[in-house]
Amino acid sequence: MTETTTTTTGGGTSTVQPVLEGRGLVKTYGRVVALDGADFALYPGEVLAVIGDNGAGKSTLIKALSGAEIPDTGEMFLDGQQVSFKRPNEARAMGIETVYQTLAVAPALDIATNMYLGREIRKTGPLGSVLRMLDGAGMRKAAKAQMTELGIGTLQNMAQAVETLSGGQRQAVSVARAAAFGSRVIILDEPTAALGVRESAQVLRLIQNLRERGMPVILISHNMPQVFEVADRIHVQRLGKRAAVITPKSVSITDVVAIMTGALQVPAEDQTLGPVR
């Protein structure tokens, strides 16, 4: 039984340092224990899926990692340095970008404006410093370059309002924004939940593009086939704890669901698993 839940390397022998790590994270809301000493580790260059039943604490875990919630106890490390985020902007300032399921783009604003929203670039010289003029052309050019780099070819006109785009394209704008500013980690919180099949496929392709560029990605998803398609490793969250970390290659969807629901137990020693590569 345990054989099916170990990763290719297994054990704690690895010397590779996690990009983002959480140890013993606890978060309670009144009497509800959302996180009960949860551990978490994301390694360089991997796509780590986080799955779990409703109430397993996966969204609270992600909120803690992205700065949207402050854990009661526990420690977090970014590239080995201990960190604590009080608000999302602090996590963002340290290179952790989050893409939300709710298509978090302002519809009436254009693509470039959305990509640089809250982080606008000003013109150089007195126009920028005295008159505070934004460098619209520069932002559109950079946005276009970012799109091209991610292989988002259909979005040509960066002055196009986001509301004229399809759901998949809007999410592509969000992902491109995260990729433009996320220097260390990109978190995708149910990025395909609001999308159709074809549009979901576009977003999954974007995730693969991100991995090819060496960007570590955390993917929260309910969709097992999607998770098995793109993830290098899968973090299974259950009852506020990490129940297991597995590789999609060595485990079936049925077993993963069994771990999620508690039908399949994983010994504690198998839970400290090293990186895949």
Partner: protein, 345 residues
């Protein structure tokens, strides 16, 4: 909108909207991109109609008069535009304007404050009034309609109590306060006032600020989708607060323009000014749902109201037609906005 070349990488969802554009959809798209276009057409039509009804209308002297009559409403409507862009509304703007004008006039006349400091303090009172509105909206989380309905009553009664029901008349006013009523002669026989120039200058400043600065972008973003703005790291409440305070300062300046226009500071002036300003904003193509609109649309909207008002009286027609025409325009404008908002290029 998307280039025809956009067919790479298998992201072919764009094809879905490449072909199926009817002329009506294209019109919808154009109006969507340029919200001031339809009010501009309405203004031109109104000018043509009134010019053909009476030859008195298109005289340079009369056209100059229209700009003077429009200056106060247009200034107020500029502040109103900022607030409506954030999906808010300000019913208290006229009351703030009159309050500011009374403070200026009485400080200079009764308290013996010099003209310029009195002017400055009057405008500051407008800013504080706006700040109070903003704090109630952002900290107490009340809907802007309710907040400003309440402060409309409060500022109106404060004005009456402070003024003790008395108008500060022309010869009692400090010179600096009357400055905006002074005429400026333009070539071709047009006569405008310094008040008109101040109004236009304000429009230019805020057109620039909204179009070219981060703050302007954030104002649009907050009105368009506050959740998306928040997730992008914008401090939504801080933007809202700054918008209400800035609008308050503009209302204070409108109080100065008002004194220049009526040559007095009266606690009873500007009764319908709040509704007039909302009318100008709405006719000008700014969406009441926020995030969409241009200040120049508002200026055109204010001019439409001014032209209809003036044209009817110059043509000797009943004043009642004005309300009929403007009321119809409001409904048409908002209907058009609803329709344009549905445009998905």
């Amino acid at each position: 909108m998307t280039d025809a070349t956009a067919t790479t990488a298998g992201y072919d969802a764009a094809e879905e909207f490449l072909d199926r554009q009817s002329p009506i959809q294209r019109l919808q798209g154009i109006l969507h991109a340029y919200p001031w276009l339809s009010p501009a057409v309405v203004l031109v039509i109104a000018l043509i109609i009134f010019s053909s009804i009476t030859s008195l209308f298109a005289q340079p002297g009369n056209l100059g008069t229209i700009t003077q009559q429009t200056a106060v409403t247009a200034t107020l409507a500029l502040g109103q535009t900022l607030i409506i862009l954030t999906a808010g509304i300000d019913l208290s703007c006229g009351a703030v304007m009159v309050f500011s004008s009374m403070v200026m006039a009485k400080l200079a006349f009764d308290q013996g404050v010099a003209g310029l400091p009195a002017l400055f303090l009057g405008i500051l009172v407008g800013g504080i009034a706006g700040l109070i509105n903003g704090l109630l909206v952002t900290r107490v989380n009340l809907p802007p309609f309710i907040v400003t309905l309440g402060t409309l009553g409060i500022f109106t009664s404060l004005t009456l109590l402070y003024a003790t029901g008395r108008t500060v008349r022309n010869r009692e006013l400090a010179d600096e306060l009357k400055w905006l009523g002074k005429p400026v002669l333009l070539p071709g026989g047009f006569t405008i006032t310094y008040g008109v120039l101040v109004m236009i200058a304000l429009y230019l400043v805020f057109a620039y600020v909204l179009r070219y600065t981060a703050w302007g972008t954030h104002v649009y973003a907050v009105g368009d989708d506050p959740d998306a703005a928040r997730l992008a790291g914008i401090q939504v409440n801080r933007v809202l607060l700054s918008v209400y305070a800035t609008a308050g300062v503009i209302f204070g300046i409108a109080g100065w323009v008002l004194i220049g226009r009526v040559n007095a500071a009266s606690p009873n002036s500007g009764i319908d000014a709040n509704l007039d300003s909302i009318t100008a904003v709405v006719i000008g193509g700014t969406s009441l749902f926020g995030g969409r609109g241009r200040v120049f649309g508002t200026l055109i909207g204010a001019l439409i109201v001014g032209v209809v008002d003036n044209g009817l009286s110059v043509a000797g027609l009943d004043e009642a037609y004005k309300r009929l025409a403007i009321g119809t325009l409001i409904i048409v404008a908002v209907t058009a906005d609803q329709w344009i908002r549905r445009a998905r290029a």
